[in-house]
């Protein structure tokens, strides 16, 4: 959905967000103050003031930047691999079926089960990146395949009447047709990547939000736990937002 650039529109859009979030925060604060959910849900103000303390602030930021870079690299690797596999099935149609099956199979293995294997193969340092990549790969793969499915039949007729080679058909017709679908996939992949990176850090990475979450859980540091969770959510949100913006601004310019 394309949102116009009209400022009034933008302000009213932003206002809805502020009001919605504000209500949620107020409810949270009250629930925390009154201990409606016991100690597990502290008031928002106590979480914020904890996170702003220099020591915890520095710890949170250091961990967040590590997780962000794990998620980003994993996102890039996963998207490129998912995209490349979908495209190669398009260039060599006989391979398509096998690649579909392989990808579905890889996706069916729970990341939790792969964690220990990854620790052994790629090492603790790279595991978060690998799990992030695995989490993104299938989403992007399916999105690009879906994009190829939606190539209009009249474009297929063009490909056939001009006797176009598979490679040129992919470059000039099929891939551009799949672009909106790819961006949709990347949008979903952005949050999967953060989730994948945090999960990968649980398996014993040296640092990162995942490590922080595990240690906070074990030591019952509720404020730290919530701060880390917030940062993780914010990261997913930013990724999603950047790609949504790309979708809104770029696609209409490209003629969609």
């Amino acid at each position: 959905m394309y949102v116009g650039t009209c400022p009034v529109n933008f302000i009213s859009e932003a206002l809805k967000w502020v009001v919605g979030l504000g209500m949620l925060f107020v409810l949270w604060e009250v629930a925390g103050q009154q201990s409606w959910l016991g100690k597990a849900l502290p008031p928002l103000s106590s979480i914020v003031s904890y996170a702003m303390e220099p020591r915890s602030y520095e710890l949170l930021m250091r961990s967040a930047s590590i997780t962000a870079s794990n998620a980003l690299y994993g996102f890039l690797i996963g998207s490129i691999v998912g995209w490349a596999i979908a495209c190669s099935g398009q260039i060599w149609p006989p391979m398509k079926k096998g690649l579909d099956t392989l990808s579905t199979f890889v996706n069916a293995i729970p990341l939790i089960a792969l964690g220990p294997l990854l620790i052994v193969t790629v090492g603790e340092q790279s595991t978060p990146m690998a799990t992030a990549a695995l989490a993104v790969f299938f989403t992007v793969f399916v999105a690009v395949l879906g994009g190829f499915e939606r190539v209009p039949s009249v474009h297929d007729d063009v490909i056939r009447t001009y006797g176009v080679t598979r490679w040129r058909a992919l470059c000039f017709i099929e891939f551009p047709n799949a672009l909106p679908s790819l961006i949709d996939g990347l949008k979903l992949g952005a949050s999967s990547a953060v989730l994948g990176a945090i999960l990968g850090e649980w398996f014993g990475a040296p640092a990162g939000l995942g490590v922080l979450i595990v240690s906070a859980m074990q030591n019952f540091q509720i404020n730290l736990l919530w701060s880390a969770a917030f940062l993780g959510t914010a990261m997913s949100g930013i990724g999603f937002f950047v790609l949504a913006l790309l979708q809104q601004k770029l696609l209409p310019r490209l003629g969609w």
């Binding site: 056939r160 009447t161 001009y162 000039f172 551009p176 490209l254 003629g255 969609w256």
Partner: protein, 287 residues
């Protein structure tokens, strides 16, 4: 009776090819020969549909053929077979002695359909240049400009398809079909989605474009008026199974213009073919 009809069709095809060859002087390389062409579609549960049954037709180089007939009579299927998009179940199609698939490999066909099929991410200019890129040839910049001018869209070179009207998109689509100087131009209801007024203007436009360089053309249309206005011969197909019921040579002088449509000759041909179309529709078994 049937074999007589086929003889007549063959004979007419031959005569008109002679005439056109004499006028054009060469072009014998663009002959299209359809011999005993049939198409049977297999549906689920062993059901079959005979879309096209035994079509014999000779099309001369540089000739403009219009295929008309009721909906679902197989005229688009016949066209798709010439374009190599479907394979005949029986019989053969030869374009200048080659099969449609061989012609496709040499980029000898140009195609424009009811859905314009333009790439939404490419400008009008780039859409017309696309066939060069698809064929792996260097883009002939002069040729693309010339085509844009030919279809009267030089000012819209940088416009994206979504910024163009329906008629403009179809003009770009026809320019794209002409880009590689095809030996055969295949048009499947190119103006079918346009309103009546635009459609009439577009026909006039197409007539002008075609007259500049007569290319062997097969046009499928629902409009008898369009067929008579544009074609050298109008082929009327009967409903399923589709076969040629009538082949009518159109002797109207070229170049034709909107005034041509006012002449008695045009009106007579229109009336005759409309009556023939009504007749084949009525005699068809209810579907």
């Amino acid at each position: 009776m049937m074999s007589n009809l086929h003889d007549v069709i063959r004979l007419e095809g031959f005569l008109s090819r002679q005439e056109v060859c004499m006028e054009a002087g060469n072009q014998s390389t663009s002959d299209i020969v359809l011999e005993g062409v049939r198409k049977r579609f297999e549906l689920a549960k062993g059901q079959v549909i005979d879309a096209v049954e035994h079509v014999d037709l000779n099309i001369a180089g540089g000739e403009f053929i219009a295929l008309i007939g009721p909906s679902g009579c197989g005229k688009s299927t016949l066209l798709r077979m010439v374009a190599g998009l479907e394979t005949p179940s029986h019989g053969q199609i030869k374009i200048a002695g080659q099969t449609p698939n061989e012609c496709i490999k040499q980029q000898k066909l140009g195609i424009a359909m009811q859905e314009h099929g333009l790439m939404p991410w490419l400008s009008a200019w780039d859409n017309i240049a696309l066939p060069f890129r698809l064929a792996g040839l260097p883009v002939d910049i002069d040729r693309v400009h010339e085509l844009l001018a030919l279809v009267g869209l030089d000012e819209f070179a940088n416009a994206l398809p979504k910024q163009l009207s329906g008629g403009m998109k179809q003009r770009v689509s026809i320019a794209r079909a002409l880009a590689l100087e095809p030996q055969v131009l295949i048009l499947d209801e190119p103006f079918g989605a346009l309103d009546a007024v635009t459609r009439r203007l577009m026909n006039n436009e197409l007539q002008r474009i075609w007259s500049r360089k007569p290319t062997t053309t097969i046009l499928v249309t629902h409009s008898v008026e369009e067929a008579v206005f544009l074609a050298d011969r109008v082929c009327l197909m009967s409903p399923r199974p589709g076969r040629l019921a009538l082949v009518e040579p159109i002797t109207l002088e070229r170049p034709r213009s909107l005034e041509t449509m006012q002449t008695a000759e045009f009106r007579n041909l229109l009336a005759k073919l409309t009556a023939a179309l009504d007749e084949v529709c009525m005699s068809a078994p209810a579907q």
